[in-house]
Symmetry: C2
Subunit: 415 residues, 2 copies
Amino acid sequence: MGEIAEKGIRAKAASYQMVNVSTIEKNEALAMIAKQLIAEQSYIMMENKKDLEVGSENGLTTAVLDRIMLDEKRIMAMAEAIQLLIELPDPIGETLETIEKENGLLIKKERVPLGVIGMIYEARPNVTIDAATLSLKTGNAVILRGSSSAQHSNQAIIKVIHQALKNTKLPVDAVQLIEDTSRETAKELFHASEYLDVLIPRGSKNLIDTVVRESTVPVLETGAGNCHIYLDESADFAMATEIIVNAKTQRPSVCNAVESLVIQEKWLELHGKELLKLLHDTGIRLFGDNKVLAHYPEVNQATEADWSTEYLDLSLSVKTVANVLEAVQHINTYGTKHSEAILTNDKVAAKFFLTNVDAAAVYHNASTRFTDGFEFGYGAEIGISTQKLHARGPMGLPALTSTKYFIYGQGQIRS
Amino acid sequence: MGEIAEKGIRAKAASYQMVNVSTIEKNEALAMIAKQLIAEQSYIMMENKKDLEVGSENGLTTAVLDRIMLDEKRIMAMAEAIQLLIELPDPIGETLETIEKENGLLIKKERVPLGVIGMIYEARPNVTIDAATLSLKTGNAVILRGSSSAQHSNQAIIKVIHQALKNTKLPVDAVQLIEDTSRETAKELFHASEYLDVLIPRGSKNLIDTVVRESTVPVLETGAGNCHIYLDESADFAMATEIIVNAKTQRPSVCNAVESLVIQEKWLELHGKELLKLLHDTGIRLFGDNKVLAHYPEVNQATEADWSTEYLDLSLSVKTVANVLEAVQHINTYGTKHSEAILTNDKVAAKFFLTNVDAAAVYHNASTRFTDGFEFGYGAEIGISTQKLHARGPMGLPALTSTKYFIYGQGQIRS
């Protein structure tokens, strides 16, 4: 029996035990994990150092090495995140619907765990602890399949989790790490419907696209963000500059950063030069269409590819449109259905934009950077979904649950 | 450009128009469709007759021909179902969450249409009208791909829908039928992520399995029902016989009919012979394990395959277990996560069963036949989901919706 089948069977069995554990038992287990992480931080850092050394030898970039690196501060942050998770309400058991039928049947729709979650992710050991603790809080078992570049760190974290779980009411098999990080085990997970109820890819667009294309297990998709800000004719200049600079520069590498400006042509006439100069002086590289170029010489000529590009750096494309309808059409053509904003004082235009743009989050007069589980007050986040089924936008704990109908009778039959 | 791409582009454009139509406009369009169906019933029956003739020549079974057949009564039933759909509340625009942030941001999570629904189904012209009208009520566009055996009927129904929509505020392109019913167009739909937001297969297990395996478009899965009734030690004999006969014989061909009995061994000792004789005399073919066989000679020896079989006829497998734990393990091993019942007077056993059996609907002392959108009071049903993401169990109108976050600000930026 291969590793996936062996661990799959144990995870399935653990998931059946997890439906019987209480909120208190789950929170006690999470507290034990947080405690053990701190107690074993030297061990974790020692193992992490092995990943960093191998990574250096293999020529990983400084950015990737930084994502892998664990120090006391980062391990403390993990433990603190677990403490916040403990304080969050438990979604399991929540009654979503109650139906009483004339024949006396009582039907209750309640939140239940999904079962076994499969998680495929890149070289970020923090995802190991995040995915494990979010899965346990929602009563799920989880099978983790990380990157070989972080495998020592992941193994150390899993060892610590298992040590912690041994003294709790939760089954140790509820959290398992795939040891074999070859391409084969990823492929096996794509087809492990027998053991997995859902597969969640976290990482690059390439990873996510592969999972969506190949997996027969249902996928919870967290996608890319080619986010736009549309400056309508009546957009306030001061608000526009502040929001654009925030949405582009505050953290350019994240999915809710803005990648493209769409500007109504009269607004461009009036404020274009001043805005473009200001953005350029802030260090933003601009790629514009011909009308934009005419207003400021430091703008580069945009190509068709620029409208679809999620730069994830200090680049920004700039497109001119005649009106809000053209803006909506442009965004629905090139956007990734993540976060889209209109800046305007015109309520009719705002309503039209918010209704007609097809995206998880649509903004009137605010920065796209707010699309985030913590900003929305969910306390925890598994990712931001750009798909339309199950969960859309920032996913809090309920995204890791399913529902079940409980029907209570006294012998009712169907007539 | 192929038919899928051409109709896909038009459906996408129609879906963007659909977000602006009101509940009144949608209901007016549905009323027009109902009216036009009645007005054109002779034409529909004439075209339906062509399918029946070709089907007869091709040797389709009487059961399949009956599913294809449309008469005045069935067309009237379609029109009446549309009338009921009109009366249902519109889920679109419903506010599911309201979050007010300290910085003044107002976040609203509202129900929105999915966009474009793809529907692949077998020879049932009633699905054409069902899928079209449910999609329109929920603000979606739909691309229908039916069976060649019902293609004349489907084309007639689509023509009638288009006639009706011409005089409404809804785009005619919101409902489209694929003319080419070759295997190729089905395969193209599996990968039409550019145009489709979701793909719903309706029909045989084989069809659904193919779609789940091959589709890269997210799938709403309606699965098979290998449903069990477990007779616990304290199950009431009279209630047990009434519920089993109902769940098996009232409509054996449907997914919520019972396919397997699981009997606690002491109950079998006391009541087995009487129950088995009664079921046999009702015309039910029984397949049991050795302990069951020992109680009644007319029981056939069950094979391993029987425990996994959804008979969809008057057959029933019968399995002996020592206790409720063994019953749960048997059901979680062989069930299809559809509808599972325990009959008992023991509240502890009932709670254990309901919590630990992994299924969309779990019953205490009632027939499994109630798992149905109409029985649950949803007024309409797209199918019964056996998957855990998005929708589980009977799917009413909300299953055909997604959500969207609307964020209203006054210039807020992220700090």
